[in-house]
Symmetry: C2
Subunit: 469 residues, 2 copies
């Protein structure tokens, strides 16, 4: 019965947040939540102080400016990432946070090197591209072959062996990130299965000004590893037109991409130690690594600063919660998730003591609230919605039907309840993983609102006299 109720709830929650329901399907009846078991009145004063302080401080923005302008983008294995980690540890100690430390993590060290794409025939043309993370490179002379453009995996499967010896170009229009990103992650191996020699993937984005988007890809161990790069929407559409007119364009792809030996990196951890139950942990987090283009401002420099600044602000305000709030700035989210896995392994003994793990990794736009894992207990959902009322004045009081994050995934799979800081995502995928993910895209006031939202939720959950469940 309980299982069936959970299933029904899941259905409700999932369909509750989806814009398009299957036509004709009945509107699912929302499952009523139990009444909250916590009282939030005693937290109104603290929430007011936190929100006021966040909105009158430029610390979050100036720190994000240092991270993006002075340190720059931070791919795993890079000097920038390690400089950033050193800086964060130094500054967190200066902030007076507790137990500040860098926990060593060995990370993959993928380097892009020089890369280029050109059309050789019917007319020579340089084409905008950006190699995908984890891709192998090409021979020094490049890979030259005819291009075959497909709009979908279905179309690829229909062509089958006809793509042997060719470069497969995926020109799949953006539906949403989750639906379209499989071309980036799986495209190379699915083309290699039919004998393709390289693959190009239309950037996973709704808009473009010749803007290529990189991102991680993974190889199917059963297929040959072929190089793969993103192309801009403009280039994908150009090749589509050439293809459709029967122009049989030939391309030359050059990529020096390769893996160097694993490099030493670290998760950065700092705490606001709990006054009564210091062993119980509310974890708030982002990932400190980024891609090797742009500044990693929204993804995820901003998320890291939000988590960090949330505890710094609490410390400054003298708000000491009953439980410990732990900030984790994970390393290597983008191309390995070694930070998230290492955290789980190093903290196995205390995983059960994590009462909530929140990740901020959707950009630092105007906050809307939190996404709570669909599997979270109903009572906890009810209590989180109650706490979120403290954020209604800044419009950040929604608790969405699902939530989580890549870095907290490993501990969530061990039973920790996960959540995400949810923000207005309207323009995130315009700049995601591009040279245009830069500080000018961050609105200082929206960043401050994210800090306030994270701080109020983390503090209240951590300070509740009752259990948070």
């Amino acid at each position: 019965m309980r299982f069936l109720r959970s299933l029904a709830l899941l259905f409700t929650l999932i369909y509750g947040v989806q814009a398009q329901q299957p036509p004709g399907s009945p509107t699912p009846t929302p499952v009523p939540l139990p009444s909250p078991t916590i009282k939030i009145d005693r937290y109104r004063a603290a929430a007011a102080r936190i929100i006021g302080a966040a909105l009158t401080s430029d610390r979050a923005y100036s720190r994000l400016a240092h991270l993006t302008d002075h340190i720059g983008n931070r791919i795993s294995g890079s000097q920038n990432l390690e400089r950033g980690i050193e800086w964060a540890v130094t500054e967190m100690k200066r902030d007076g946070l507790d137990n500040v430390r860098a926990e060593k993590v060995m990370v993959p060290h993928w380097v892009r090197g020089e890369e280029s794409l050109e059309m050789l025939t019917p007319v020579p043309r340089k084409l905008q591209m950006l190699g995908l993370g984890n891709s192998v490179g090409t021979p020094a002379e490049g890979i030259s072959a005819e291009a075959v453009v497909v709009r979908s995996f279905d179309e690829l499967d229909r062509l089958g062996e006809q793509v042997r010896g060719k470069i497969v170009v995926y020109n799949a229009p953006f539906v949403n990130y989750g639906a379209t990103v499989s071309y980036r992650s799986e495209g190379a191996s699915r083309a290699a299965r039919y004998g393709a020699v390289a693959a190009l993937v239309r950037s996973i984005t709704p808009v473009s000004l010749q803007t290529p988007h990189t991102g991680a890809m993974t190889y199917d161990a059963n297929q040959p590893k072929i190089p793969v790069a993103a192309v801009t929407i403009e280039v994908a559409e150009f090749l589509q037109r050439m293809n459709d007119r029967g122009d049989r364009p030939t391309l030359r792809l050059k990529m020096e991409a390769k893996f160097l030996p694993d490099a030493e990196s670290a998760n950065v951890i700092a705490e606001l130690k709990g006054s009564e139950k210091p062993d119980e942990i509310v974890l708030i987090s982002g990932h400190f690594d980024s891609w090797d283009v742009g500044q990693g401002a929204h993804d995820d420099g901003g998320g890291c600063i939000v988590a960090w600044e949330a505890v710094r602000l609490l410390k400054e305000l003298g708000l000491k919660p009953r439980r410990t709030i732990r900030v984790v700035l994970y390393t290597n989210e983008e191309n390995g998730l070694r930070g998230g896995n290492a955290y789980r392994d190093a903290h196995r003994a205390e995983i059960v003591k994590h009462i909530l793990a929140i990740e901020s990794d959707s950009g630092v736009y105007r906050p809307e609230g939190f996404g709570l894992a669909a599997t979270a207990p109903l009572q906890m959902r009810s209590n989180m919605q109650e706490i979120a009322k403290l954020l209604s004045g800044i419009g950040a009081d929604q608790i969405a039907a699902s939530g989580g994050g890549a870095d907290i995934g490993p501990i969530v799979r061990e039973g920790v309840v996960g959540a995400s800081l949810d923000v207005n995502g309207e323009h995130y995928f315009d700049i995601h993983h591009t040279p245009a993910d830069t500080l000018d895209k961050v609105n200082p006031r929206e960043l401050a609102l994210c800090v306030a939202t994270m701080a109020v939720m983390a503090y209240t959950v951590a300070d509740l006299p009752e259990p948070f469940k």
Copy 2:
């Protein structure tokens, strides 16, 4: 009196099209136009056939696709431009147009070469740039100097001699093209006046995804020629932040830009010969050259195709006007205007026979009508508004208070009445002079509507039994 009335009209017309009037200024009373002296009823059938044919043909789009995809961008002096001209002449003859010819024009031959910008200190960083057309290059080792960022010419003037030996970065926010483009055109010489060694100009655009915009600049003969490049909004804002924090960034600019000897090019001309008054000319035009990035799709491949396809369509429909409709695809609009000047010089004897000259050079978005030169006679304005009623069904019936074009400027200054094809310009400056001015930005239906609009207006004006005045 007549002069005063003209002045009043000019005021009315100018303020009538400006969104923001000075606060508190009275709303100018529109000057009433005289009644039209022409009858448009007899042209309804022709307009219907033209619109129907334009909206059911893919010729305009497929020709623009050939021009952009197979020929590519077309800077003056390039092989692409000359290939394009040859193709147009061949195709126009194949279309059966009259007097198809290429009229030789010598054009400047500016080449970009390799170019780059990097920050050297406080932290090394590659920065997105695109040299401005006509700029001189740097020495091979580049120019390395401290950057000084200003938001306006006023700010530059206040700094004065403090910029000696430095690289001036103009970070002027986009107001509108006309208001902001002076930083691009004059920025180098105005900085050189105070001893600056190079200049960088924030791209003239409201939006950016690390998208640099090139465009023409001109040197003041009284100042030293210093190299100048566009930077993206992202880079300009980055340098502004570095500047404002006192980080004193030093930059290295490398540009191989230079002029080669003038090259041979041509204006392409084709006609639909008039049946009764073949010496009277309605000129419709665009410019065939483009910048050396992107595809020159909206600027101004589209405009050329609109003018060309307008007469091809009339020819196909057997619509032979009383006067001649002449298509001119000008060369070298972007960095010299040699095509427009050469046309004036070669056709001096018949300039007085040009009863109207229309240029399409604002992109080929949804057409709104025409802009008629503010100095056009009131009766002509009234008659043009009357003809435009034939276009009300496709929403292209506005006659704006002013209009014209760079290429027709030389004959307009000799007394020809000028006009522009006016389109929805909402997104033109997003892609103007960038690698993103590509065919995917052109909506085939909007292009066809532009063709219909141009063809109906040109045909009706050219066929009027009465004089068009």
